[in-house]
């Protein structure tokens, strides 16, 4: 397996300095080239899980192995795209995408590589623009190009389209699907949108909350492009909704209990 997550646990300390389970006993195997969505309600630990694969957050126990190497720190073999495009405002688009390449290859080579990836996200004409001159969707495409330019084995995406409007999001879904088909990257895609996960992924890991656990591992075998299979999508959506309903009720109940106890 390309990515192996074994017996992974994560605890954070709460305000009273007591450990709280955020992720509990996560076991996952992900094959090379798979497009996997991690779906779950807000606060179930999706970002924490993804950050641990990225090497940005250390596990309390358990291990993550990517391409036969144990993850201990961040590395260029795992590119990450965040909800807010974390491109650097003091660099233009070209310089931003070049950032991860600058020590690896000559400037000329790097530029060629960058051009190629800007073309992939359809921003060839914006190489010399600065981030503040771009729309949110364009900024996010720069972030995707930047992550892909270092040719990582895995692309980690944490609600990358969550802050965009509906139209832009739909366009970027199609682009991402196209990029995935072209590059054959393994993609781990965090979202809290059921329809987004069904539209894009081969597999949906449904997570429950408090503590974060894997509720279901669903294979999506609808043919692509999925837009033409509305009925199948709808059916799947209802099934997942049923799974998550209990989780959402749990959150609401807890919040009510919290409010009445105060």
């Amino acid at each position: 397996m390309f990515i192996q997550i074994k017996d992974l646990n994560k605890q954070y300390l709460n305000k009273e300095n007591l450990p709280v389970d955020v992720l509990k006993d996560i076991d996952l195997d992900i094959g090379k080239g798979e497009f996997v969505s991690i779906l779950g309600p807000s606060g179930c630990g999706k970002s924490t899980l993804l950050s641990m694969v990225a090497g940005l957050v250390q596990a309390t126990s358990g291990e993550i192995i990517v391409d036969n190497k144990k993850v201990t720190k961040p590395g260029k073999d795992r590119g990450m795209v965040f909800q807010q495009a974390a491109i650097f405002p003091w660099m233009n688009v070209l310089e931003n995408v070049m950032f991860p390449l600058r020590k690896e290859m000559s400037k000329k080579e790097a530029k060629l590589r960058v051009k190629e990836h800007l073309k992939m996200v359809q921003l060839s004409n914006y190489a010399s623009h600065y981030p503040h001159e771009l729309s949110g969707g364009m900024q996010q495409r720069v972030a995707i190009a930047r992550a892909l330019a270092m040719d990582p084995g895995v692309l980690l995406m944490d609600e990358p389209f969550g802050a965009l409007d509906e139209q832009t999001r739909t366009r970027l879904h199609d682009q991402l699907e196209q990029i995935w088909i072209e590059t054959k990257k393994t993609i781990l895609f965090v979202t809290h949108s059921i329809s987004e996960s069904i539209k894009l992924s081969d597999r949906i890991i449904v997570m429950g909350t408090r503590p974060g656990t894997v509720l279901a591992d669903i294979h999506v075998d609808l043919p692509r492009p999925r837009g033409e299979h509305k009925e199948g999508m709808l059916k799947l959506e209802e099934r997942i909704m049923g799974l998550l309903k209990k989780e959402i009720d749990k959150v609401v109940d807890e919040e009510l209990a919290y409010e009445t106890s105060n």
């Binding site: 795992r78 974390a86 950032f99």
Partner: protein, 251 residues
């Protein structure tokens, strides 16, 4: 009406009223000379080059002092942002120093360096350093964790992360710090020069006052004010604005 035109009109009216008041003898020329006398004093000062030498001397001290202040301020700010121990100890001292007008250091500076260039430059340095320190410190501490996380996933860490990401990300604070350091240093310089030997704008101001040349006193005050305002608005505020825009902080 454009703000610039409004502003010009305003100054024309103020100076006009001032001139009319002087002409009408509402106040004595000795207490408040008319704009025309001030203008004449300035022209004389420029023609006999005393004001030119003063300007050059003052700017030399300012540039040396400010450059040293920015260098020390930046280094100290980085230290305070990076080391909790330094922040808890030196940090509180910096806050205390920042609340002391730097001119009060002059007696000590004169004891240490004698009454000359070094003493004034010392006071200028103290004027600019601490405000720069505090801004650099806050700037570095406020760098979005998102930039740092993103950079780390792209293989950046340690010194590379600091130089390529953390420092550039805090540029808006560096610019604000420099603008305030300039303002404090300029004030410190004038105060220092008032109390020391020439040439220098502050020195000429006191010299003119000692000889009862009120027109020149006001003339020099006008120069000091105009330089202060022009550098602040035409240079620093412009840079600040464009940086804030590019860094996406104006949302």
């Amino acid at each position: 009406m454009k703000p610039a035109i409004k502003r010009i009109l305003f100054f024309v009216i103020v100076i006009g009223l001032w001139q009319l008041g002087s002409k009408a003898g509402l106040w004595s020329e000795i207490l408040l000379p008319s704009p025309v006398s001030v203008f004449e004093a300035l022209v004389t000062g420029i023609q006999d080059k005393t004001l030119i030498y003063d300007l050059i001397a003052s700017f030399k001290r300012l540039i040396v002092g400010l450059a040293i202040a920015l260098a020390i301020g930046t280094s100290l700010g980085i230290l305070l942002a990076k080391s909790k121990t330094a922040d808890d100890t030196i940090g509180s001292l910096v806050l205390a120093f920042q609340s002391v007008p730097s001119i009060v250091w002059l007696p000590l500076a004169i004891m240490w360096f004698g009454l000359g260039e070094s003493a004034i430059i010392f006071v200028v340095i103290l004027g600019g350093t601490f405000v720069m320190t505090l801004n650099v410190r806050v700037g570095i501490k406020n760098v979005s964790p998102l930039y740092i996380k993103a950079a780390r996933t792209m293989g950046s860490s340690g010194l590379d992360l600091f130089i390529k990401v953390i420092l550039p990300a805090s540029v808006p604070y560096l610019v604000t710090g420099s603008r305030l350091a300039w303002a404090f240093a300029w004030r410190a310089l004038m105060a220092g020069e008032l109390l020391s030997t020439g040439p220098g704008l502050g020195y000429t101001l006191r010299y003119a006052s000692d000889f009862g040349n009120m027109s020149l006193v006001i003339g020099v005050m006008v120069i000091i004010g105009v330089i202060g305002a022009v550098v602040d608005q035409l240079i620093f505020q412009r840079i600040e604005k464009s940086v804030i825009r590019r860094w996406g902080l104006d949302s």
